[in-house]
């Protein structure tokens, strides 16, 4: 019998809310956090909308010595970790240092920091490159900085699988808890809203070029024309259920009950793509039947081909219109490796409050046999939720979260 791994704390920084409470309230109200890019002048580019975390002033949340050595997304991540620990009521100095770890997902590292230093190097010379460049941009930076800030000396890791990373980090964190760790900070907080990051996103040909925040990101809609990138995400406190009980954890949001991951066949292959099997693996891992899932949080690529594959996978596993499906990321955009852990947070809050958040702005295409929760939240008992995430290139992951027992 393996130990249940539970989530006891949530830290969120999202384009439509700072903190889990604000994010959740905004999400249930259908508040859209997507807008015209403010961090640089987007007018030369064919896509100009993003989900930026508003009102975040790093100096209000972090010691000043951390500011020059961190990228924007690392600052967001440090604050998310702090809020998640506070939410869980964890005082790291009261726990055994080697039993606490940090496992995060990253997509492109501290890319804005990296752009500045590349610019210094090529426009001024090597002596102008920051002493912090050696670590401030690399993929491992968030795990390193969080472990240092909170004295966590247990397992540390970083996974990169694009948009699927937020689930893969949680899957790996659960494995480390089963191996004996008591607490792992996990999930993803990401972002690369800088000109150099923006042109990399543009290169995919998958960005929406709309200038209307309510019309730009429309998964499962006949008008689906690509997505809007965003920044932020969620970090979660995962604990061994027994350890959480012993330390007197004040709330348990739910259990990470199942996890599965697959990779798509090579492009051009006629073999089925991987999302269906990832969902089935997660259900099997949770020892649950499809009928026990009360809501699916979709990846929601908003590219017709990807939407079709995902809808077909959901329909194949659950049956036509047999399970409520939602994609509240229409209100924040796709947050790289931060997206999926934010969806886990939303799924856990759905369980807590008995409500499924809406997929805003979308008119469901008749092509899809999905019960997509549109426009307004739907009151519903949620005992278990499935979260799906698909990363660029063929990464498919799924997580089942279940109400605390």
């Amino acid at each position: 019998m393996t130990t249940p791994v539970v989530v006891t704390g949530i830290g969120v920084l999202a384009p439509n809310g700072l903190g889990a409470a604000d994010y959740w309230a905004a999400t249930l109200k259908g508040h859209n956090g997507i807008g015209r890019i403010t961090r640089f002048d987007p007018s030369p580019y064919p896509a100009r909308l993003a989900g930026e975390v508003p009102g975040f002033v790093a100096r209000e949340h972090l010691p000043s010595r951390l500011i020059p050595q961190t990228d924007h997304m690392t600052r967001l991540a440090l604050v998310a970790a702090e809020w998640a620990l506070a939410d869980a009521g964890v005082r790291p100095d009261e726990l055994a240092e080697f039993e606490m770890g940090v496992i995060t997902a990253s997509a492109s590292g501290g890319f804005e920091f990296g752009q500045n230093e590349l610019r210094n190097l090529w426009s001024k010379g090597s002596r102008y490159v920051s002493a912090y460049q050696s670590f401030a941009w690399f993929y491992a930076v968030n795990t390193g900085q969080i472990s240092i800030r909170h004295g966590m000396r247990g397992p540390g890791s970083v996974v990169v699988s694009d948009q699927a990373g937020g689930l893969d980090a949680v899957g790996q964190a659960r494995r480390q808890i089963r191996n004996g760790s008591k607490l792992i900070v996990s999930g993803g907080v990401d972002g690369s809203i800088c000109p150099w990051g923006w042109v990399a996103h543009l290169a995919t040909g998958r960005l929406s070029t709309s200038d209307e925040p309510d019309r730009a990101y429309l998964p499962f809609d006949t008008e689906a024309r690509g997505h809007v990138p965003g920044e932020g995400g969620a970090l979660l406190i995962l604990e061994d259920a027994e350890a959480a009980r012993i330390r007197g954890a004040r709330s348990v949001y739910g259990e990470i009950a199942g996890y599965g991951a697959t990779f798509d066949p090579k492009p051009g292959s006629d073999r089925e793509r991987g999302p269906r099997r990832a969902i089935e693996l997660a259900l099997t891992d949770a020892a649950m039947e499809p009928g026990e899932i009360d809501v699916v949080f979709a990846d929601a690529a908003a590219m017709p081909e990807r939407d079709r594959i995902e809808a077909a996978a959901i329909t194949a596993v659950f049956g036509p219109r047999a399970v409520p499906v939602t994609a509240p990321k229409t209100m924040v955009g796709r947050l790289c490796s931060g997206a999926a852990s934010l969806d886990i947070a939303a799924a856990l809050l759905s369980i807590r409050d008995g409500v499924v958040p809406p997929t805003t702005n979308v008119s469901l295409s008749v092509e899809y046999e999905l019960d997509l929760v549109l426009t307004k939240p739907r009151a519903s008992v949620v005992r278990a939720a499935l979260v799906v995430a698909c990363g660029h290139g063929g990464f498919n992951s799924a997580v089942v979260v279940r109400a605390p027992r």
Binding site: G101, Q115, L118, G125, G151, S161, V199, A200, A261, G391
Partner: protein, 422 residues
């Protein structure tokens, strides 16, 4: 009963020679592959030495299209993957593709490709609002290095879990450790696991210059990497890839595969101290060693050889020596310890996997590779570092470790197949 994980295929591309045979020949001869940087004009930089690979991707079967879309690090990894799969003799097409996974370590991803593209779209740094009209279609693959895992999965037709593990300089140990856990818990039957990095580019050289982490010994490039030596003054940047085929021991034995070694134990710990600094006492690395030994159900005395991180920086070699004493006790003085970075430099995230390759070859040949360029002992580094010359040494069990920026500390125990009792 827990599944046991073995290495049945090895592919290595390291400075000084492409392929396992050339790699081992360099190490066992104690030759060095460090030289003055040739990839770009190094004259503006403080450290102008590196360990470069003479690598022609087309000669290794990569198509023009693959060469165009892949960063050098991905190219190295794909070539190493094909070599490893060929070496193992495993017939991947006979397996359920969903039971074959991919885990690739890389510290800095497609940093070379990114820098080249940045120069184009920014007009060498003149434009802050970089020009999207000049963007190559595969830029996103450089931007998010999970593309490395994708390339490898495509190369072998794997459809199981695929991931890039990026924990700085321990990436190459952590990716293999991760792969091992996936086989043990039954998620997959076969893993293609390893690591790659190709960081020898101006931005990487500049960032290590800025903190004086790399050596300024530019007048003696061949002998610039001096782990554990009293005159050491920084590491030498390298590049490379090593990829392994990992299987559960029962299936490997059923198909009569050649088994290089069993991965008996692995652990990764954070030092939670400083992004680039190390506490001199080596406490967290020692803890990783202790946990890895525990997982292997072995004691310090079972270790025949320690393949050290041995980067050649003042602080690392001191830190690591202290960690070995702390975790292995008196046995630390009796067991040979060596650093192959003295010969092939430090390829950041790749080196952990390259050092796993050196470790399994030490078991295979009963030979311990030396620490080249070690002439001047110093009091803080007082273990048996196998200076200059390789040593014939009965080697059943190897401890290999890594330590890096971000505070990551990892340890792995590899043992001759059939020896472990776990």
């Amino acid at each position: 009963m827990r599944r046991r994980v073995v290495i049945t295929g090895v592919g290595v591309l390291a400075p000084g020679g492409v392929g396992v045979k050339e790699f081992w020949s360099l190490l066992s001869d104690g030759r060095t592959a460090t030289r003055t940087i040739t990839f770009f004009d190094p004259s503006p930089f403080r450290s102008r030495v590196a360990a470069e690979i003479d690598f022609a991707p087309a000669a290794h079967g990569l198509s023009q299209q693959e060469i165009r879309r892949m960063d050098r690090a991905a190219q190295l990894a794909v070539v190493a993957t094909r070599a490893a799969v060929g070496d193992s003799g495993v017939e991947l097409t006979e397996l359920d593709p969903c039971r074959v996974g991919t885990a690739i370590g890389s510290a800095v991803g497609a940093t070379m490709g990114l820098e080249e593209e940045y120069r184009v779209v920014s007009d060498d740094g003149r434009l802050e609002l970089v020009d999207h009209e000049y963007v190559v279609p595969h830029l996103y693959n450089h931007f998010v290095p999970s593309s490395f895992a994708a390339e490898i999965a495509w190369a072998v037709g794997a459809e199981g879990p695929a991931i890039v593990v990026s924990t700085g300089c321990t990436s190459g140990l952590d990716s293999v450790g991760h792969a091992c856990e996936l086989i043990r818990d039954g998620s997959v039957d076969v893993m293609i696991a390893g690591a790659t990095d190709a960081p020898i580019s101006p931005i990487t050289v500049a960032c290590f210059d800025a903190i004086k982490a790399t050596t300024p010994r530019n007048d003696d490039a061949e002998h610039a990497s001096r782990p554990f030596d009293g005159t050491r003054n920084g590491f030498v940047l390298g590049e490379g890839a090593a990829v392994f085929v990992l299987e559960d021991m029962d299936s490997a034995q059923r198909r009569n595969a050649h088994i290089y070694a069993e991965i008996a134990g692995f652990a990764a710990r954070c030092n939670a101290f400083h992004m680039t600094g190390l506490r001199p006492d080596g406490r967290e690395l020692a803890e990783a060693v202790r946990v890895a030994l525990d997982e292997a159900r072995m004691s310090a005395e079972d270790i025949d050889y320690v393949n050290a991180h041995g980067s050649g920086t003042k602080q690392n070699d001191r830190h690591e020596t202290a960690a070995f004493k702390r975790s292995l006790g008196e046995h630390a003085y009796r067991t040979p310890v060596s650093s192959i970075k003295s010969m092939i430099g430090h390829s950041l995230g790749a080196i952990g996997s390259i050092e796993i390759a050196a470790s399994v070859l030490a078991i295979e040949h009963n030979v311990v590779p030396p620490t080249a360029n070690l002439h001047t002992p110093e009091p803080e580094c007082d273990l048996d570092y196998v200076p200059i010359t390789a040593r014939e040494w009965h080697t059943d069990t190897v401890l290999t470790v890594g330590s890096g920026f971000g505070g990551f500390q990892s340890a792995m125990v590899l043992t001759r197949a059939g020896r472990s009792t776990s």
